[in-house]
Symmetry: C2
Subunit: 247 residues, 2 copies
C-alpha cells in the first residue's frame, strides 16, 4: 500500500518561472526580476501525471510541493473506516502538497483528473531560499494562509448551506478561477464526476445531478453532461446571498 507511489516520470528539461505564463498566479507572484531568476533554480523539474494517476498519496513521505502547470487535480482525505472526502480541486498555478509539511508525510491523496503537468518544488530548497529573500518567504506564507482561509469558506459552505446554495457557490468559484486564467466566465467543462462534486460539497451524487437539472429548469444553467453554460450568473449569486432578501 505505502510502497512505490506511482512511477515517477520526471521530465529532464528545465522550466523557468521567469518565463512561465503562470507567474502572475503561482508562487512567484510579486517577485521582481532578479528574485525570479533565482527561483528558477528552485523549480528544477517538471513531472507529468496521467489522468487517474496520483501525484502523491496519504502516507507518502513529504519532500516537495507541486505547482500545477497544466491540467486539473483533486485532493481527498479518507478516514480509517473508508469515509472519503474531496478537500479541493486544483488548477493551473495552484499549489499542491502543503498538507505534508506538518508531519513530513502527506495526509491526503492528490489525483489528476486529466493529463497534467506539475512543477516540482523541493521543499527544503524552498525553505533555504525563502530565508534568503523576503518576498518569496512572504509570498509562500500568503499562499499557506490563503489555503486556510479557503478551507474556512468550505466549512461555512458545508456547515450552513443547502444543496442549491452549495452547488451555486461551487460553480461561481470555479468560473471565477477560470476567468482569472483567461477562460470564459460563462462556459466551462467540468473535469470531475458528479460523485466528486458531491463529495466536495457534502452531497450525494444524485442530489448534485438533481440540482443541476433544477438549475437548468429554472433557466440558470444549460447542462449537457459535463458541459456547463451559465445563463444567469446573478441568479446564482442571489442563491448564495440571502436567498429571499427583498427587504
Amino acid at each position: 500500500m505505502t510502497e512505490a507511489s506511482t512511477p515517477l516520470k520526471t521530465d529532464a528539461f528545465k522550466v523557468a518561472c521567469s518565463s512561465c505564463n503562470l507567474r502572475e498566479l503561482c508562487l512567484p507572484v510579486g517577485l521582481d526580476r532578479p528574485d525570479l531568476e533565482r527561483l528558477d533554480a528552485l523549480v528544477s523539474t517538471r513531472r507529468s501525471v496521467a489522468r487517474g494517476d496520483t501525484l502523491f498519496r496519504a502516507g507518502d513521505a513529504f519532500e516537495s510541493l507541486y505547482a500545477v502547470r497544466t491540467g486539473f487535480f483533486k485532493t481527498c482525505v479518507s478516514s480509517e473506516d473508508g469515509r472519503d472526502q474531496v478537500t479541493g480541486f486544483q488548477m493551473a498555478g495552484e499549489l499542491l502538497g502543503l498538507d505534508g509539511i506538518s508531519a513530513d508525510r502527506h495526509s491526503c491523496d492528490a489525483v489528476a483528473l486529466e493529463d497534467s503537468q506539475v512543477c516540482v518544488i523541493q521543499y527544503n530548497q524552498l525553505e533555504t531560499l525563502s530565508r534568503e529573500f523576503t518576498d518569496l518567504q512572504h509570498q509562500f506564507h500568503k499562499i499557506m494562509s490563503r489555503e486556510i482561509v479557503r478551507d474556512h469558506g468550505v466549512m461555512l459552505l458545508l456547515g450552513s448551506m443547502r444543496a442549491e446554495e452549495r452547488l451555486a457557490a461551487f460553480l461561481l468559484n470555479l468560473t471565477q478561477r477560470l476567468q482569472a486564467r483567461g477562460f470564459s466566465s460563462s462556459s466551462l467543462i467540468l473535469r470531475m464526476t458528479r460523485e466528486e462534486i458531491g463529495s466536495y460539497l457534502g452531497l450525494k451524487l444524485e442530489t448534485v445531478s438533481r440540482t443541476f437539472s433544477k438549475f437548468q429548469d429554472e433557466g440558470l444553467l444549460e447542462v449537457k453532461q459535463r458541459q456547463i453554460r451559465i445563463l444567469n450568473q446573478e441568479g446564482l449569486q442571489q442563491l448564495i446571498n440571502g436567498a429571499g432578501s427583498t427587504c
Copy 2:
C-alpha cells in the same frame, strides 16, 4: 463596524517563551536553548481579553499572531448574508490569526469564551527572525500546515458524518487536546454553548442537545449542563470508526 477593534489592554510586563510552561506545545516546539532565548525578544507583550470580547475581527488590519496563554477562544467566519460558522476552538498553546497573512487583514473573528490571555507575536518580526534561524521557520511552517490538515479533517466531518458521529468526534478531539495539557481525559467543562458547538459541527443547537441526551441515555456520557464526564470512551470511538463493523 470596522472601527476601533476592542480597547487594547496590553500588559506591560514581559513573558519569556524560554520559561513558559507551554513551550512544548506552542510555537517554540523543538527549539534549543539559545534559539529559545532569541524568541523571547519576539514575543514581547501579553494581552488580556475578557470573556465575550473579541481579540480581532474580520476586516481588522493584520499585524500580529496570538498564542493562547490561558483561556479559550472560538474563531468564526460569516458570509455577507449573515450566515455564521464557527471554524475552530483554540486553547492554551494554540495560535490565532494565521488567516490574516493572506490579505494583510483578518478574515474571521476571534472571541474569548472565557477570560483569557494571549502572547502577541509581531508578524513582521516573526518573518525576520525565522529568516535567521531555521528551526523557527520550520516550526512555523509546520503549524500552518497542521492548521490546513485540521481543516481537512473538519471538512471530512462536515461532509460525511452524521450528527452522533460529529459530536463524538468533537468530544474526543477536545479531550485529547485537554489531555495533552495535563487535564483529565474523561472529565471536562465545555466553554462554549450548544449553539456554538452546533455551528462548528454543522448542526442546530437542538440537535446537539438531543445528541448529548442520547449519549447519556446510552451510558456513554454523563451530562450536567456544560459538565461532561466520559463514561465509555471506546464507545464514542466506535461511533466514528465504522459505526457497525462487526465483520
